[in-house]
Subunit: 237 residues, 2 copies
DNA sequence: CCAAAAGTGTTGCTTGTACACCCATGT
DNA sequence: ACATGGGTGTACAAGCAACACTTTTGG
């Protein structure tokens, strides 16, 4: 009756408007050999053949943007439970020459040691060092710059590492990760004190003896930590 | 030939995927009488009649999300050149009972003294104090919480006020704005020193004599300031 | 004169940074 | 024994918060 009519009116309102392709593109960061890396896929067809692209895909009817991103991450890395955060929407009508596509970008952090290397190789993907990226399609260069800025901002407020490092890691490995993210060096002693003062790492009894003569204690993230703090950890340059 | 075929292939790829309604919803903040306020519109039809909503609309084919947001802000407030920033995407397939709509939210900051009050009244809109909001449709409550958090974050890093205050304002007016945004009080002396140390305000020769007996100098934003700094202005609680 | 806001100065605490210094050990 | 990274301590500077104090002027 009243309500039914209103719903009909409502759907009339919707029908006046155009629909759009909606995609998600993921900046997938990993950390390996002291370098911050980004997983990119080569484009095999024109236009922009030979250029590289973020992993992306189209959003289907029954899924949210986050769900679409997780589906794509699972398909390409074999990983569930990936750290994932919305970054920004890219919506210039001309951004994709093939069609008008609105793209939402995500930042994903994964542990390179845990992902499915076979699957990645099958897709022709490659881990690129963030300081030395190839030519990218469309506006993917801007997407990555935005993702890097977001990663810095996040790493400056919350201690990240759980998402990128192995379960056990040394203080120097964590420092190296932060140096890769911020592209600057930190004083070893001060870094240690600052990080430990946050009270979210616990020292394991084991030591890493491969990377130094004395041996360095392994740390792990305190499972109980909420992970959401507001104080700054590192000041930006 | 080769390229043409590729484009055809490409469009085949696109056509396999569904299209979606895409909307923008704007959290329009203003500042008046010492209160941070939000412009909301009443919903006149079912479902959710009587609840309030952010100002929003559908994205058309020839416009980016930002352009859509600006079009809607112009239509509803009469203002060009509004400060506008992407907030977050809300994309749960069930979020809008009328249809599957993906919504991108924006934060807009406007000067209440400059907007078209007639236009706003025509639309039945109302300025609500952010600490006392009415019932809202769908996920608009979450959108506003997100927008408020973003506003705090932004105000904590960049000195905002140019977008919300008149051209000339006293230090106490700026302090009151910050107190409204952060919902806490600041020490008058320390606030003054911190803000002036940023070197982005210039003191005018005029004084405000209506709000105090002694009279307080008016300040204005230094036109030449880039407006993008990375140091924190206020620490969050 | 006094209340009230404007504006400046002082002090103590916390935090960041630079750097000295001892420790453990593989070569 | 010594070079190397691990780990701790110290000393100085900067920033922040609390608050005392002075100025101005309307009632």
């Amino acid at each position: 009756m009243e309500e039914e009519k209103a719903v009909l009116n409502l759907s009339k309102i919707y029908k006046q408007h155009p629909k759009h392709y909606v995609a998600v593109d993921c900046s997938i960061f990993g950390y390996e050999e002291g370098e911050l890396k980004l997983l990119l896929y080569p484009r095999g067809f024109e236009p922009a053949r030979g250029k590289w692209s973020l992993m992306g895909g189209f959003v289907q009817n029954n899924e949210s943007l986050e769900e679409a991103a997780r589906r794509i991450l699972l398909q390409t890395t074999g990983l569930h439970d990936i750290f994932l955060e919305q970054a920004a929407a890219f919506s210039n009508p001309e951004r994709d020459p093939g069609a008008r596509v609105i793209s939402m970008t995500f930042v994903a952090l994964i542990r390179i040691d845990m992902h499915d290397k076979e699957l990645v190789r099958e897709n022709g993907a490659h881990w690129w060092t963030v300081t030395n990226l190839p030519l990218l399609i469309f506006d993917h260069e801007a997407m990555i710059q935005n993702a890097l800025a977001l990663l810095q901002q996040k790493a400056g407020i919350n201690l990240i590492g759980k998402e990128l490092l192995p379960d056990l890691f040394t203080m120097m490995q964590l420092k190296n990760l932060y140096e890769a993210i911020f592209q600057r060096s930190f004083d070893p002693g001060n870094f240690r004190k600052k990080v430990l003062s946050l009270d979210i790492l616990e020292r394991s009894s084991e030591k890493n003896t491969t990377e130094s003569k004395k041996g360095a204690f392994y740390y792990r993230f305190n499972e109980a930590d909420p992970g959401n703090r507001s104080e700054r950890i590192v000041k930006f340059p």
